[in-house]
C-alpha cells in the first residue's frame, strides 16, 4: 500500500497546468481529489512519474447559474454539490446523486471533474451527467472545446479527453420546470460503489411521458443510456405494465462485470429494479 516515487507539481492556473501537461507528456497525471487515483497508485496499478495537482487553481471551483445553464467548476467537491442551495433548487437530481457517492470523507475530497474523468462505469457522476444532458468544457493547448456527455464515455477508463486536455467545467441545461427526477442506487454498504443504479429525468404531459432520460451506472464497460426504454416510454402512462416493459428494455442492454457485489444475473435484475424504482420516484415528483 505504498506508491512508487513521483514528482509533484502545483500550478496556480489552468494555463500553467495545460503547459505542464504538454511539457511532461504521458508520464504526467492530473491530480484532483485523489480518491480514485491514489488508491490505484498505492496498489501500484498506476505509477505516474509526475502528478499535476489541480487543487490550487481557484478558477476551477464553484457553482453558478449563467443564462439557461448551471456551470460547475471541475474541482468542485461532491460535498459542495450536496450543500449547494442553487443545485437543490435547480438541479436536485445532482444533489440526490452526490449523496449516494462513497461516504462523507471521500466526498470532502472527491471532485465532480475527477469522478467524470476517471471513466469508471462504477462511478455515479457519468449516469447523472447523461440524465441531465450535460456537456463538458475541455481545455487544451489549442483552447477550449465543449462536448456532450452523451457520447463522451468510450469504455473502461476511456473518454474523449485528449492527453493534453483538462476538464475544466461542467455545464448543465436547466431542467424544464415540473421535471421529476430520481437516482436509485443499490449498494452493499456505506462507501461502496453501485451494485446497480439508475438516474432518471422525467417530464410528464398530463398522464403521459413527454420526455425521459434514463442512464445506468455499473451496468456495462461504461455508463449506459437506456435508449430503447426511453423511446418506449414516450407518450405512455407510468403504470405497472409500462414500468415492467421499461425495466425489461433497460435490462436488455446491460453487460455488467461479475464481482463480489453479484453475478451478471443479479446485477441485471437489480438494474431493472433500480430503473423501475427511479421511474416511479421521478413520476411521483413530476408535475405537469
Amino acid at each position: 500500500m505504498i506508491p512508487a516515487g513521483f514528482d509533484y507539481h502545483a500550478p496556480r492556473s489552468v494555463a500553467d497546468a495545460v503547459k505542464l501537461l504538454g511539457e511532461l507528456g504521458p508520464e504526467a497525471k492530473l491530480l484532483a481529489g485523489g480518491h480514485s487515483l491514489l488508491p490505484m497508485m498505492k496498489l501500484r496499478f498506476a505509477e505516474p512519474g509526475h502528478l499535476v495537482d489541480l487543487g490550487r487553481i481557484a478558477e476551477l471551483r464553484g457553482i453558478s447559474e449563467a443564462g439557461k445553464e448551471i456551470r460547475i467548476g471541475a474541482m468542485t467537491t461532491e460535498h459542495e454539490l450536496l450543500r449547494s442551495k442553487l443545485l437543490a433548487e435547480k438541479v436536485p437530481l445532482l444533489v440526490e446523486g452526490a449523496g449516494w457517492i462513497a461516504d462523507p470523507q471521500v466526498r470532502y475530497k472527491g471532485t465532480i471533474g475527477g469522478d467524470i474523468s476517471h471513466g469508471d462505469p462504477a462511478n455515479d457522476q457519468p449516469a447523472l451527467m447523461l440524465a441531465l444532458e450535460a456537456s463538458f468544457v475541455l481545455t487544451g493547448p489549442k483552447g477550449e472545446r465543449v462536448v456532450k456527455a452523451d457520447g463522451y464515455f468510450l469504455g473502461l477508463y476511456s473518454t474523449q479527453l485528449a492527453e493534453d486536455e483538462i476538464l475544466t467545467q461542467i455545464r448543465i441545461p436547466l431542467p424544464a420546470p415540473g421535471s421529476g427526477w430520481s437516482y436509485q442506487k443499490l449498494k452493499r454498504k456505506t462507501g461502496d460503489f453501485a451494485t446497480a443504479a439508475t438516474a432518471v429525468m422525467l417530464q410528464m404531459k398530463g398522464k403521459s411521458v413527454a420526455s425521459v432520460a434514463i442512464a445506468l451506472t455499473n451496468a456495462g464497460p461504461t455508463v449506459l443510456k437506456a435508449r430503447d426504454a426511453e423511446a418506449y416510454l414516450k407518450g405512455k402512462a407510468i403504470d405497472d405494465a409500462s414500468l415492467n416493459e421499461a425495466a425489461r428494455l433497460a435490462m436488455k442492454i446491460c453487460q455488467p462485470t461479475p464481482d463480489q457485489r453479484g453475478d451478471a444475473e443479479y446485477k441485471v435484475a437489480m438494474c431493472g429494479e433500480m430503473t423501475r424504482r427511479a421511474l416511479q420516484a421521478a413520476h411521483a415528483r413530476a408535475k405537469g
Binding site: 505504498i2 456505506t190 451494485t195 405497472d240 435484475a269 429494479e273
Partner: protein, 804 residues
Amino acid sequence: MSQTAELKEREDKLQGMGTSLLRKEDAKFIRGQGSYIDDIKLPGMLFGAVVRSPYAHARIKGIDKAKALACPGVVAVLTADDLKPVNLHWMPTLGGDVQAVLADKKVCFQYQEVAMVLASDRYAAYDGAALVEVDYEELPAIVDPKKSMAPDAPIIREDIQDKKEVGHGPRTHPNHIFTWEAGDKAAADAAFKTAEITVREEMLNPRVHPCPLETCGCVASFDKPTGYLTVYMTSQAPHLVRTVLAMLSGIAESKIRVIGGDIGGGFGNKVPVYPGYVVAIVASIVTGVPIKWIESRIDNISTTGFARDYHGVGELAADKDGRIKGLRFSALADHGAFNSHVSATKFPAGLFSICTGSYAIPNAYARVDAVYTNKAPGGVAYRCSLRVTEAIYLIERMMDVLALKLGLDKAEIRRRNFVRSDQFPYTTSLGWTLDSGAYHPALEKVLKAVGYEGLRKEQAAKRADPKSPTLMGIGISTFTEIVGAGPTKVCDILGVGLFDSCEIRIHPTGGVIARLGTMSQGQGHATTYAQIIATELGLPAADIVVEEGDTDKSPYGAGTWGSRSTPVSGAATAMAARKIKDKAKKIAAHLLEVSEGDLEWEIDRFKVKGNPSQAKTMKEICMVAHTGNLPAGMEQGLNAVTYYDPPNLTFPFGAYLCVVDVDKFTGEVKVRRFYALDDCGTRINPMVIEGQIHGGLTEAFAVAMGQQIPFDENGNHLGNSLMDYFLPTAVETPKWETDHTVTLCPHHPLGAKGVAESPHVGGIPCFSNAVIDAFAHLGVTHMDMPHSAWRVWQQCNTLGVNKR
C-alpha cells in the same frame, strides 16, 4: 448528614463494582494520544517490507535479489536461505505444527511470506520489495477442503509428508491434520435408531476475518552488547509470546522483553506468532539495529489469523413432542496450509464440544476432521473462545430445523429442552459442567419485552398477503457460552497452564498499582480491574493504576482472549486484594487494640463491632503499613501477588431475538429489531458490559450479513480489501436493545463470568435464524451465511417470490 447518606457518599467515592465508571483509558484514546506499534520510532530503525507469493501453490525455483539490492535505501533482502544458518526458517506454531517463516522451496498459500526487504524507510522498502524477482512454478491448488483428502490430491505439506502425526493423533492422508472426537458414539447412534423424528442439515461457517482497526506489526530491537531483545508488538498474549521466542531463539527468557503497548483491537487476530515478527527479530539480531514491520490491510486480511471455515453437519433425534434424545454434530475444518491456530493442547478443535448448548441432551457425539488447504493458516479467532461460535451456530440453527419439522414454535422447542434452573451444576453428555443458569426466565423475559405473540401474528398476516413487498422473519437464539480458559489440569498451550495473575502494590498514601498477565485491546481493563480493587480494598478507583502487557513488569499470564480476563485475572485480582485486606485487618486490630474477630468491614474501613466510632480507614492503614508501628514480626508493605487457577470455566448465557424484513426484489435484509438479554453473573461495570455487547452484536451482524473471505478455484483472493470486506459503519448497524438477568457464577470469587464474546457467539445464529425464518413457510430449512443481498435474492429468485 444522615448515616445512610454518609455511607452512600463514601461508597460513591470509590466508584467500585456495579457503577458505570467512565473508562479510565479513554482520556488518551479520544484525544488521539494512544501509542500503537506504528507510533514507536527508535533511533537507526530500519523498515521491513514482506515480499509475498502471488500464487496459492507453487515451487520456488529461484530468487534474484540483485535489482532490489541496487535500489536506493535498501540494506538487505532476507530469504529462507538466510534464516537457515540460525535455524529460524521454520517455527513451531501454537497448534503443534511447524510453519515456514519465509517460504522454503515452495509456497502454500497466496500472499505467503517469501522474503523481507530491509530499507532505511518504508517507501524504499516497498520499492525494493517490488524488485525482488522470484521464479515460481505453479502447482495445482486445493481450495475446497472436501477435496483435500482425495487419493490423488496434491500434497500441500511435503515437509511433513511422512509424519504419522502433527501433535494431535494419527493422520490418514498427507493433507490430514487430525481427527478429534467427543462423547459416546454408540449411545448417540442408538438414540438415532430408535428416535421418532430425526433431522439433518449441512451448514457452513464461512472463512471470515476479525479485521481489527490496527493491523499486526512489531518493532524488534536487539541490543548486541547486552544480548537483550526488546520487542514491541501487537500481541494479546505477550507472556506466551516471550516463552515462544525463548524456545525459538535460544535467548534466555530473562533477556527477552515483550511490550504490548496500546492495541487497536485484537479479537483473536493477535494471539499467534506470525512470520513477520520472527523475521523482524532475526533481522534485528543480524543487523544490530531495530526493525519495524507493519502489515497493510490487505496483508492482514489475507494472511493473519482468520476465523471459522467449519463445514458442519448437524443431526438431532427427538420424540414427537420435540424432546431431544440424541445429537451428532461433525465438522470438516479448513485450517489452511499450516496448523497455526491457537489451541489448548488437549483441545485441537477448541471447545467445540459445548455444542449441546443450553439443552439437556442425553446422548451426544461430536467429531472434527481438520485438513490442509492452500489458504492462509489460522481458524481460531474473532470474539470466540476457540470454536464456540461454530458449535453454538450448529445447535441454535438445528433447534429451528427441528421445530420446523415438528411444526412447533421456535420458542417452545427451546423451552422443552432447556436445562432447568434446578439442574445446575449440570454435566452435559459431552463432559462440560455448566456452572449456573436460569434459561427459562431469560427467554420468557425477552418474549414478553418484544411482544412475541403479536410479532408472530403480524408475520402470519404478511405471509398470507401476496402483495407484501417484504418477507418478515423472527429469529431466536438461547445460547450458552463457555469462557475463561482455563483450569490448568485440562488447559495448557505449549505446556504452559492457562492460569492468570495479578500483582497489587499499595503506596503509603493509598495509591495503588496493579499489574496483570492479561492484555487489554479495548476491553476497558484499566477500569474494570480498578473497580474490583476499589470495592475489595475501599480505595477509590480513580487512584488505582492498572498496567498490562510489559513482560518485564507484569506477572506471568496467558493474556486476553476467550473472554478469560474477568473469569481468570479478575478472580486473581480479587484474591490478591483479599490477601492485602487480611494483612490490613491485622494492622487495624493492632492499632485499635482489639482482636481481629472484633472487627467488621464497612466500605472503606475496619470498625470495631458495637463501637462504630472506633475505626481505621484503609487509607490510614496504607500509611501505617509503611511505618514501624506494626504487629510483632510483621513486614512492612501492602503488596500481594496471586496466580489464579480457575476450578472450572464459566458459562454465561443469553436470550436474543431479532426481527428482519427482507426486500423480495433486491434481497436486502433490514434488521427491524434486535433484543439481547445477557447473563454474565455479577456485573462489574454495567457500561463497559453494555459496550462489549454492542461491539459483539455489531461483529455478529457483520459476520451473519456480509463477511466472507472469497477465493477463486486457484486459491486467489477475491475480496481482501475493505472495498469488499464488510465492516459495518454506524449507518448499517442496527439499533441494539439490551437487557440482563444476574445468575452468579458459583466458583468465581466475585460471582462473575466472561461476557465480551457472548454477543458474537449468540448473535450470529440469531440473525441467521431470523433471515431463514422469513422463508420458513416456503419450505426453506437453511441458508448459509453471509446473508448478503445477492445471496438472499438468489433464494427469493429460486422460490419465485420476486415475480411481479
